[in-house]
Symmetry: C2
C-alpha cells in the first residue's frame, strides 16, 4: 500500500461508507401511495421514456431491459438528447420516468417545462424532495440517500434500489418479493465495505503502472460498466471508460498493453461464459483484467450475494474500491471536485 | 510538424483518401429495387430496430432521430445487447435494420439465426455482397466502399451516406432531393482531403503534450462523437472517448487540464450555441478545445458544406486528421492493428 493512503480518507470515502444506511432508508421510504396510480398497468401507455443524465441515465438500463422483456415500448434516452432532439416521441400517452439525484440539473428543468406542453405523465425519481422534479412530478419515488459531497456513490446505489422496486411495480411483478431481496442488499453492502481497506490495498497491488482503465459488462451490468467509467475518471482523473464487453472486443481490445486494466462484470448466466473468456483473452493479449463475480473471485471482486435484483448494486462496490486505489496511487484525494459544481446548471 | 511524418503514410491514409470514390460508388449503387417493398411505408411496423456494432451502431443514430421525428417507434440498440437481452422486443411486425461492414461479425451471425425464429423483416446494410448478412437479408442496401485495411473510415462514411438515403426512403421523404445533396458530399470530401497534409500539421501543432482526447456533440453529431472516440483510440492508442456535449459537462469536464484536447461538433442550429459555449468554457477551465463547424473555424476544422444530410459525413474528416496528427506525434503508424483482426469473430 502506498504511504499516502490517508489521501483517500476524505468526504468521498465517508459517502461510500454511508451506503448501507442510504439503501435502508430508501427502501423504507418507498411506497405505492406516492405513485398516483401510475403503477401496475404500464401497458396502457404508448411509450415509456426513461431519462436522466450521467449515472442517473445509466442506472435506468436494467429497468429498460425489464420493460422490453415484458413487451413494453421503452425508450432509454439521455435527457439532453431528449429535450433537444426526441420530444417528437412524447405525447399524452407517454409515461416519462425522469431520474435526477438533485432534481434540478439544467436538463431536468428544461424537461419539466417541455413535458408540461406534451401532457406526458411524469414520474420523478430524486433524492431532494424540495427540488423542481419532486414538486412537479405526478408520481414520485424518493431516494433517501442523504447529502453527497461530489462523485455519485450512495445516490447511485439508492437510485438502483428505487428503480428495481419501481420495475416490479410497473410491470405488475411481485413487488413484495423484490422488496425483500433488496432489504438484503444493505447487509451485503455493509459486509463488503467492512473490509474496504484491504479491498483497496488488493486493488492497489494490481494497479502499479496502470494508466488507463476500462469497465465492461453486458445486460443489466452495462449500468455498472458505464457508471464505472464515469466515476473512475471523475474521482481519479485517470482515463477510464465504460462500455459493453462486446464493444470492447470490437475496438479497444486492440489497444491493450500492460498499463491498461479492465474490470469485467461476469453478470448473469446468459453471458457469464463470454465475460469470463474475455478476461482470459485480455490477459493473453498482454493487458490486465479482473472479474467481478459472486464466485471464483478474489475478495475485493466478490459479490456477497448472487441474486439478480441486487447485482448492479453490489457490482458497483469493487468499482468504488478501484477508484480509491487509483487515487491513492496517484497521490490525489479521490472525488475532490475542482472545476465542477455538484449540480450541473449549464447546458 | 514532427520529423516522422512519414510514419502515418500507410494503408490507413490510403483508405482515407479513397473516401470520395467510396461515397460516389455507394451513391450510384443505391436503388429501391433491392428493398423488396420494405421502403415507403415504415409506419406499418410495430417497431423498427436499428442495430450494429461499433461505428456501424453509432452511424444509425441520425436515422434513429429521423424515425422518432416522424413518429415511428424506433429502437437503437447494440447488436450484442439485442441478441442476448432484447429479443423480446422483436416479432413479425418488426423491421430490423442491421448494419455491418463485413456482414459476418459474430453478433450479426447470431442475429441472423435469431431473427429467422422471430420472423422479423430484415433489411441489411453491408459492404460485402457475399456475406451472410447480404445473402440472408430480405431488403439490401449495399455500400461500395471497397476493401478497408483496419480502422473504419471509408466504410463508415459510406454507411452514413447509405443510411441517409435509406432514411428518406423509409419515412417517405424526398429521396431524390437527398440523393442530390449526397452527390455533393463526395466533392466536399475531396476538396477537404486535398489539403490533408496541412490539416494534419495544423492539428499536430495544437496537440503537443496532449495525452487524452474527447470528441463531443449533440443530436445527429453524436454519431461523430461516439465513432470519433472509437477510431481515435483504435488508430493511435491514445485514450479517447466520445459522448454527448451534455454528458461531458456532467462529469469529464471536471478532469480538464492542459493535456486534454476536446474536439467539439458545433452541429445544427438547435444546439450550436450550447456547443460553442462549451468550447469557451473548456478553454477557461484550462483544457484545449477546437470547434468543428461550417464557419468560424480554422481550415482543418471547417466543414465545406453546411447541409444537414451530409454533416455527419463531413464532420468525420477532421477527426481522421486528428488521428493522423496524434499518431505522428506518438511516432506510431496510424491504424495498424496488432491484436485485432478486421472482422470480430469472438463474442
Amino acid at each position: 500500500m502506498p504511504s499516502d493512503f490517508k489521501i483517500i480518507k476524505g468526504p468521498y470515502i465517508r459517502d461510500i461508507l454511508q451506503q448501507p444506511e442510504a439503501l435502508r432508508k430508501t427502501l423504507e421510504g418507498l411506497g405505492r401511495d406516492q405513485l398516483q396510480g401510475l403503477d401496475g398497468n404500464a401497458a396502457r401507455f404508448d411509450r415509456i421514456v426513461l431519462t436522466g443524465m450521467g449515472s442517473s441515465f445509466h442506472a435506468l438500463y436494467p429497468l429498460h431491459l425489464q420493460l422490453l422483456s415484458a413487451g413494453l415500448p421503452s425508450l432509454h434516452v439521455e435527457t439532453a438528447e431528449l429535450v433537444h432532439y426526441q420530444m417528437g416521441a412524447m405525447n399524452k400517452n407517454t409515461l416519462l420516468v425522469a431520474v435526477s439525484q438533485s432534481g434540478r440539473s439544467i436538463e431536468i428543468v428544461r424537461l419539466l417545462e417541455l413535458s408540461k406542453d406534451r401532457r406526458s405523465r411524469l414520474l420523478g425519481v430524486t433524492n431532494d424532495e424540495t427540488s423542481p422534479l419532486a414538486v412537479q412530478s405526478e408520481g414520485l419515488v424518493m431516494m433517501r440517500a442523504g447529502e453527497e459531497v461530489s462523485v455519485s456513490c450512495k445516490t447511485y446505489l439508492a437510485t438502483l434500489l428505487a428503480l428495481e422496486w419501481l420495475g416490479a411495480v410497473l410491470v405488475g411483478g411481485d413487488a413484495d418479493e423484490t422488496r425483500a431481496v433488496l432489504g438484503e442488499a444493505a447487509t451485503a453492502t455493509e459486509n463488503y465495505l467492512r473490509k474496504w481497506e484491504s479491498h483497496v490495498e488488493a486493488f492497489a497491488r494490481s494497479l502499479e503502472g496502470v494508466g488507463q482503465v476500462f469497465v465492461v459488462g453486458r445486460g443489466r451490468s452495462l449500468a455498472t460498466a458505464e457508471t464505472g467509467g464515469l466515476i473512475l475518471k471523475e474521482s481519479t482523473h485517470v482515463p477510464a471508460e465504460g462500455m459493453s464487453s462486446a464493444a470492447f472486443r470490437h475496438g479497444p481490445f486492440e489497444t491493450l498493453s500492460d498499463h491498461i486494466f479492465v474490470l469485467v462484470m461476469e453478470g448473469d448466466s446468459v453471458t457469464a461464459a463470454l465475460n469470463r473468456r474475455l478476461v482470459e483473452d485480455i490477459r493473453a493479449a498482454g493487458g490486465r483484467a479482473a472479474l467481478v463475480s459472486a464466485s471464483d473471485s478474489n475478495q475485493e471482486c466478490r459479490l456477497l450475494d448472487s441474486r439478480e435484483a441486487m447485482r448492479p448494486i453490489l457490482e458497483m462496490l469493487p468499482v468504488q474500491m478501484l477508484s480509491l486505489a487509483l487515487a491513492a496511487l496517484r497521490v490525489r484525494e479521490a472525488g475532490r471536485f475542482g472545476l465542477l459544481q455538484k449540480v450541473t446548471t449549464v447546458e
